[in-house]
């Protein structure tokens, strides 16, 4: 039998009700944060960022696709990667399903990466995704929004998640990326066909933009664990009896599991 504490329905309910109060408090806190997020000031974007997309060369305004709001997922897929980051891929598995709903609510959702468009297109086909994905290879976009570092920035200590990181040689890797040390990062880097240094010159994040009267404003960006709430599978695992239950990098791309497929059994 199990080692976990078991009880009668009444005992379970009493404990559940106690947790419910705490859960409701968290929900209200989340509402308050969402309000404050919307109250942040905006910054006008004056640079003409160019992207390569399925529809040809595009400006940031084009990524709005006729909507007034744009959410960009900064997908880690550097020019040297042979495949997209597996962690970003599990996040994309989530938003691929609901992007259509946002698109019908005046919100465009697009991924942006530095790899050339042909690589993004091939990987998107492999994963069976349909969301728009633009290449920012020939521009400053990823650097300006702190999700790509040059080799020099990496060596000297770049900026990520609103902090300046220690130089690469001293610390090995920006702790803010994983907080798990070097081993697991090297493992993920290998899954993208790169080494740790190359892999971590790209960083995960999301940014939001507004288009009003032809002017684009930057409204919000979040990085590192700020993405936790957007990583759908973790919200579900947090409700599973065993929680996240992790001892290392267990996830793979959805077509790399031994019994990959529909989830039905």
């Amino acid at each position: 039998m199990t080692d976990h504490r078991t009880g009668t329905r009444e005992e379970w309910l009493a404990a559940r009700l106690e947790l419910l109060d705490a859960e409701k408090e968290l929900t209200r806190r989340s509402d308050e944060l969402a309000r404050r997020r919307q109250e942040l000031p905006w910054v006008r974007i004056d640079k003409a960022y160019r992207f390569e997309t399925d529809k040809g060369t595009a400006f940031l305004a084009d990524l709005f696709g006729g909507r007034s709001q744009l959410l960009i997922y900064h997908f880690m897929f550097g020019p040297e990667y042979t495949a997209g980051c597996p962690s970003c891929s599990t996040i994309a598995d989530g938003f691929d399903g609901f992007a259509v709903h946002l698109a019908n609510h005046d919100v465009a959702l697009s991924a942006v990466s530095r790899a050339p468009l042909a690589k993004l297109q091939a990987y998107k086909r492999r994963m069976g995704w349909t969301f728009p994905w633009a290449s920012s290879l020939d521009g400053d976009f990823n650097f300006d929004f702190n999700v790509s570092l040059t080799e020099e920035q990496q060596r000297e200590g770049g900026e990520y998640n609103y902090r300046r990181e220690a130089p690469w040689k001293v610390r090995g890797i920006g702790d803010s990326l994983t907080k798990r040390g070097e081993g697991p990062v090297a493992e993920i880097a290998a899954m993208t066909g790169t080494d740790t240094a190359t892999y971590t010159r790209q960083r995960p994040g999301m940014s939001s933009f507004v288009l009003e009267n032809g002017v684009i404003y930057h409204a919000y960006s979040t990085y590192a664990r700020g993405l936790d709430g957007l990583w759908g599978m973790y919200q579900w695992l947090d409700r599973a009896p065993k929680g996240r239950n992790e001892k290392g990098i267990w996830w793979r791309r959805h077509d790399e599991y031994a019994n990959h497929g529909t989830g039905a059994r």
Binding site: T6, S30, P41, W42, G229, A240, K242, W251
Partner: protein, 221 residues
């Protein structure tokens, strides 16, 4: 021009950093709740529920599909409805891509509705859903897990839901229940209802209540 406050990049970063401290506090609070949730006691599930699925009659234990954890989404779809609830369908679009990852973590995810299996099959086919979806029509499962009201209770207009008393005009309500199986015994570990479900959508709550101003879109259908 916009009415929103516009600032320089440096001022934006300063405001963003102040807000970041708040967000981090929230992340830590959420971790604490997840820990507490795992520590909740479990209750034995003693009743034998039989569902209609692709493999014929399947028990709750079967729905684990050989894994030790099961999460059930109580998807609102009554036998006399033409289609499942929109918010349940929105849920399905949210989770369909992440199920293989949950499976890898020893967890099965199954949707359960009261509509007959043929109707579930038709809707799944229409939307291209491939997750497991079984019918609980004819058993007490949704009743016991507080997501369905018997007609005599519904006639009273008020019933227990989300661990409190609420007014209802329709028989079914949305929810999520988690189970654990060990040595053949099934335990009920957790159930969440109403807004508790929304934290399971990546990105959290967004607009609530929805523009329609009805907490549950199908309540009056």
């Amino acid at each position: 021009m916009t009415d929103h406050q516009i600032v320089s990049h440096d001022d934006w970063v300063a405001a963003r950093e102040r807000f970041l401290a708040k967000e981090k506090e929230f992340t830590r609070l959420r971790e604490e709740l997840s820990r507490e949730r795992c520590e909740l006691p479990w209750e034995c599930v003693k009743k034998e529920y039989v569902f209609e699925g692709e493999n014929g009659g399947e028990t709750l234990a079967h729905l684990f599909g050989g894994r030790s954890q099961l999460i059930v989404y109580h998807l609102m779809y009554e036998p006399d409805w033409n289609i499942g609830c929109e918010s349940g369908s929105f849920w399905a679009d949210n989770v369909k891509g992440i199920i293989p990852h949950l499976n890898e973590r020893d967890m099965s995810l199954v949707a359960i509705s009261r509509a007959p299996l043929e109707e579930l099959r038709a809707q799944a086919k229409h939307f291209g859903w491939t997750f497991k979806w079984v019918s609980c029509v004819g058993n007490d499962f949704n009743l016991d897990f507080n997501v369905w009201l018997a007609p005599e209770i519904l006639a009273r207009g008020e019933a227990a839901y989300n661990y409190g008393s609420k007014k209802f005009t329709g028989p079914s309500r949305p929810g999520i229940s988690a189970f654990f199986k060990d040595a053949g015994q099934v335990f009920h570990t957790h159930s969440t209802y109403a807004r508790g479900r929304l934290d399971l959508l990546p990105g959290g709550v967004g607009e609530w209540p929805p523009a329609a101003k009805t907490p549950f879109c199908c309540a009056s259908r």
